[in-house]
């Protein structure tokens, strides 16, 4: 949390409305996202109680487990959910990106939206509890159940990747783009968060958040349910279902249960779509599409590998080599994502300006044809002097990039109290005497330079799994799925 974001929160407190933290949207919002609002039964690891799921505000489907402890009913719920999710996923694989010719890439990828971090955890646990099951053997389940597990696990793993948009917790996405007048902890309540961002008429953020916090006036977004609801509504409803003597009584009890659950879920469902509208209304940052293309690539590869039966297994825990490789990838992606956000968004770059690592100013003099003859070959190295009011704290030799000239590198030559002298290289065309027109900033131009580069970093080299060294326990045994995995009781 920096001074900029803290100031934004202070402004929100005073104005009674959330204040923007960004000038653009940094996350892709799909045309048809799959919104999922899950509810889980208290006290269990991942016992689903209900879920509302669909790709449109008016297309929500409520799935309810009438007896959450009954294994059969649980797997029935999962099979139903699988139908919806798998249909959605397959739908995303129907069209191919025609702009991409070097390799096959689908035009779409799934985007699953859940209300909060708890929702992502629910997906992780549901994926874990279903992906090892089998449609044959001692405890068979419908064949879509393990497939759903694989996709949920795929989405969950993807969501750890900075900049990925296939599984998102909307509280986190909204929190990235708006600062409320309450704490980050309180922002984890979707209704309170939206109360600040988009308060109903006649109320300010604080008042709206207060209503949102009262579980009687606004049911929680889940997956946890309100304990009072559990004790006073849900428990009797479940008991009624269990007691039901005949089919008629059963369906009556089930309808009553569904109605009670729907009441808990529908408000959050509405909020999710309101959040989607609010995000869609923001202009997307320049690199959002590129990151979505990466998501589509990964989706394409996984979808095709599942179809061919060559999909990599999803073990319970990473092996030593897999863990190290994944950490390397996450770190590179994090650096790249942060750089892209700063280059796409002046308000994010402002963080660096505040700390003296970036600056914005006007070019007051330029030598675009300057050539450096000190090296083996003569090289075009223009100098520009940028006048700035920003408190620059850079040392000579620091390397910078400008958002409007991404291919070009700028090196700090000297810093004074009023200006910075930069030496430019790359991104000027092939001539060694003359830069391409427009590639060097001209006198009078307002420019920004920041310490970030979104250049692609190649992955590190890692030993093969069979070559895991003795320091890390040597090569791990191969994973052999057993009956016990499939039989794992789910209670």
């Amino acid at each position: 949390m920096s001074i900029l974001t803290a100031l934004a929160r202070a402004e929100a407190v005073e104005s009674g409305r959330a204040q923007p933290l960004t000038t653009v949207r940094h996350t892709h919002i799909a045309e048809k996202p799959l919104v999922l609002v899950p509810l889980a039964l208290a006290g269990e690891a991942a016992a689903p109680l209900a879920a509302m799921v669909g790709t449109g505000r008016d297309a929500g489907r409520l799935l309810v487990v009438a007896n959450p402890r009954d294994r059969t009913q649980r797997f029935q719920f999962v099979a139903q959910l699988a139908r919806v999710v798998l249909a959605y996923v397959d739908g995303c694989s129907r069209t191919v990106d025609t702009g991409q010719t070097s390799k096959l890439r689908y035009a779409e990828a799934p985007q699953v939206l859940v209300p909060n971090r708890g929702g992502i955890e629910f997906i992780r646990l549901l994926g874990r509890s279903t992906r090892f099951r089998r449609p044959y053997g001692p405890h068979p389940v419908h064949r879509t159940v393990p497939l759903l597990g694989q996709w949920l696990t795929f989405l969950r793993e993807r969501s750890d990747h900075p900049g990925s948009g296939m599984l998102l917790a909307l509280t986190e996405v909204l929190g990235e783009h708006w600062a409320t007048g309450q704490s980050g902890l309180e922002d984890a309540n979707l209704a309170a968060l939206l109360g600040w961002i988009d308060p109903p008429a006649g109320l300010d953020g604080a008042a709206a958040a207060e209503i949102a916090e009262d579980p009687l006036r606004w049911p929680p977004a889940g997956p946890s349910t309100d304990p009072t609801f559990d004790n006073e509504v849900l428990a009797p409803a479940l008991a009624a279902y269990a007691r039901a003597a005949d089919e008629q009584a059963k369906s009556r009890a089930e309808a009553a249960l569904s109605a009670a659950v729907a009441e808990q879920v529908e408000p959050t469902w509405g909020l999710m779509w309101r959040a989607v509208d609010l995000l869609r209304a923001r202009r997307a940052g320049a690199s959002v599409e590129a990151r979505w293309a990466v998501d589509r690539d990964v989706f394409t590869m996984y979808h095709m590998s599942l179809a061919e039966g060559t999909a990599l297994p999803q073990p319970r825990r990473d092996s030593a080599v897999a863990a190290a490789g994944r950490l390397d990838r996450l770190e590179r992606e994090q650096a790249r994502y942060e750089a892209q956000r700063a280059l796409d968004d002046p308000l994010i770059m402002a963080e660096f300006r505040l700390s003296g690592e970036a600056f914005t100013g006007t070019v007051v003099s330029a030598s675009p044809n300057r050539v450096d003859t000190s090296g083996k070959k003569a090289a075009l190295r223009p100098h520009i002097t940028v006048q700035t009011d920003d408190p620059v704290r850079l040392e000579p030799g620091a390397l910078l990039v400008s958002p409007t000239r991404l291919a070009q590198q700028a090196m700090v030559v000297s810093v004074s109290s009023v200006d910075v002298v930069l030496e430019l290289s790359k991104g000027m065309g092939r001539s060694t005497k003359q830069p391409a027109p427009g590639s060097v900033p001209e006198v009078g131009e307002v420019v920004t330079y920041g310490p970030v580069s979104d250049a692609y970093q190649p992955p590190g080299r890692f030993p093969a799994r069979e070559e895991t060294p003795w320091t890390h326990g040597g090569p791990p045994p191969d994973y052999q799925p057993t009956d016990s995995d499939a039989a794992e009781d789910w209670s």
């Binding site: 092996s319 190290a324 950490l327 003296g356 060294p469 320091t471 890390h472 326990g473």
Partner: protein, 429 residues
């Protein structure tokens, strides 16, 4: 047999996978590494050495080449590396990016990052320097190159970290975010672990304090006696800030001083604290300090290159550098704890990581950071801090998460800070 003999015996043994050596600050780690390298080389073995930074590699090469001028040394380097003077001056060093060029050298030294790119060549033995500061994923990438290792480092200094915050691997014995030694020992619990018991750098006034605060289960002692080290000023104090004078005198006399500023919550680059540090450093140099030690019984002037300033954050470092820029102290090293690791000075001045804060997170309380800052000196350490740290510690809530199957690490950051503060409070000028 001395500890060093035991270590070399374990390292040279044909059985087992090597040895781990815990080396508290200034315990002679580099001397051990140089000696181990020479021993192996003289026995006719090709040796591989892994260090963490280019600076460390160059330091090792300089020392090794000086101690054994006839030894062929290969420096495995990235293409961006510009050979340092202290490497080139020895004619015995070959600098190259290709393993094939240096494979036959008696000793090949490189950074872990460079070794991680090497896919061929094997060595029977390797020395891994600063193994506690090395992350275990780097060890994974270089361990295929050698069969047995001497893993040496300081367990009390900064842990490796990542900007990525994932709990995915917490509890796994091969958690890539853990230190190399932690993972190594978890999979090879029978590996002998030796502890160097003596600090040759820290004076007795510091060794006892640092040992108790940061090495609660593995204490060490100073290798010198109180009378072996002395600091004198050759210039009298003349009409400056009396508080600064008092601080310098306390530091000179006892080896520690707490320069306390009035309690206030401030921004990190606390102007007053920065100014106080600058004044102390400048006044220190102006007083013409002379250091008497077992290395220089007739005294040696403490010049700007023998003084360092340490802080927790880069912006604090930048602000202090700016404040010293046009003074006699412009050449004094100013750096973060990360970059001061492994380095040594006669006198240090540090900005307490908790100064000016109202609340602290685990990051600010991290024992390793304070340990590095407080253990760089041979003669004296001045701590600059605003009053109020005691209150911060007293009101600090404990809200740390617990991950199953993760060994608990000591010292606890809060405890270490508390111990240091308790000691420094008796040293307030």
């Amino acid at each position: 047999m001395t500890i060093i003999d035991d270590i070399l015996a374990d390292f040279g043994s044909a059985a087992g996978r090597g040895v781990v050596v815990d080396s508290p600050p200034g315990a002679g780690k580099s001397t051990l590494v140089v000696r181990a390298a020479r021993t192996m080389a003289e026995a006719g073995e090709r040796l591989m050495v892994v260090a963490q930074t280019n600076e460390q590699v160059d330091d090792l090469i300089d020392r090794l080449a000086t101690a054994a001028p006839g030894l062929e040394i290969g420096r495995l380097s990235a293409s961006t590396y510009v050979p340092a003077q202290r490497v080139i001056k020895h004619g015995s060093v070959t600098v190259s990016g290709a393993v094939s060029d240096v494979q036959t050298s008696a000793v090949v030294i490189g950074t872990a990052a460079k070794w991680a790119t090497v896919t061929e060549g094997t060595w029977e033995r390797a020395i891994v320097d600063e193994a506690y500061q090395m992350r275990s994923d780097m060890l994974l990438r270089v361990a295929g190159r050698f069969t047995r290792g001497l893993f040496v480092g300081d367990p009390g200094q900064l842990d490796p970290f990542s900007v990525v915050a994932v709990e995915r691997w917490a509890g796994l014995s091969w958690d890539p975010m853990q230190s190399a030694v932690a993972v190594l020992l978890r999979h090879n619990p029978d590996l002998p672990v030796h502890r160097l018991p003596v600090s040759w750098r820290l004076p007795p006034s510091a060794a006892s304090v640092v040992s108790a605060a940061f090495y609660p289960f593995t204490p060490f002692e100073a290798g010198t006696r109180p009378e072996d080290r002395r600091l004198e000023f050759s210039v009298r104090a003349i009409g400056g800030d009396p508080l600064v004078d008092a601080t310098l005198e306390t530091a000179r006399r006892t080896g520690w001083a707490l320069h306390e500023l009035p309690a206030r919550h401030t921004v990190r680059t606390d102007r007053e604290a920065v100014a106080a540090i600058a004044t102390i450093v400048v006044n220190l140099l102006r007083r013409g300090p002379i250091a008497y030690s077992e290395h220089a019984p007739d005294g040696r002037p403490v010049t700007a290159d023998r003084v360092a300033v340490g802080a927790a954050h880069r912006d604090q470092v930048a602000a202090i550098r700016q404040a010293l820029a046009d003074t006699v102290a412009s050449d004094v090293t100013v750096d973060t704890a990360n970059r001061l690791q492994g380095r040594e000075y006669d006198v240090t001045v540090i900005l307490h990581p908790l100064s000016g804060r109202r609340d602290a997170s685990a990051f600010h309380l991290e024992a390793g950071r304070l340990c590095v800052l407080a253990s760089r000196h041979r003669h004296a350490c001045v701590v600059v801090a605003r009053a109020g740290i005691a209150e911060l510690l007293d009101t600090h809530p404990s809200a740390e998460p617990v991950h199953l199957n993760v060994p608990v690490r000591f010292p606890d950051g809060w405890e270490a800070n508390q111990a240091m503060l308790a000691h420094l409070s008796t040293m307030a000028a």
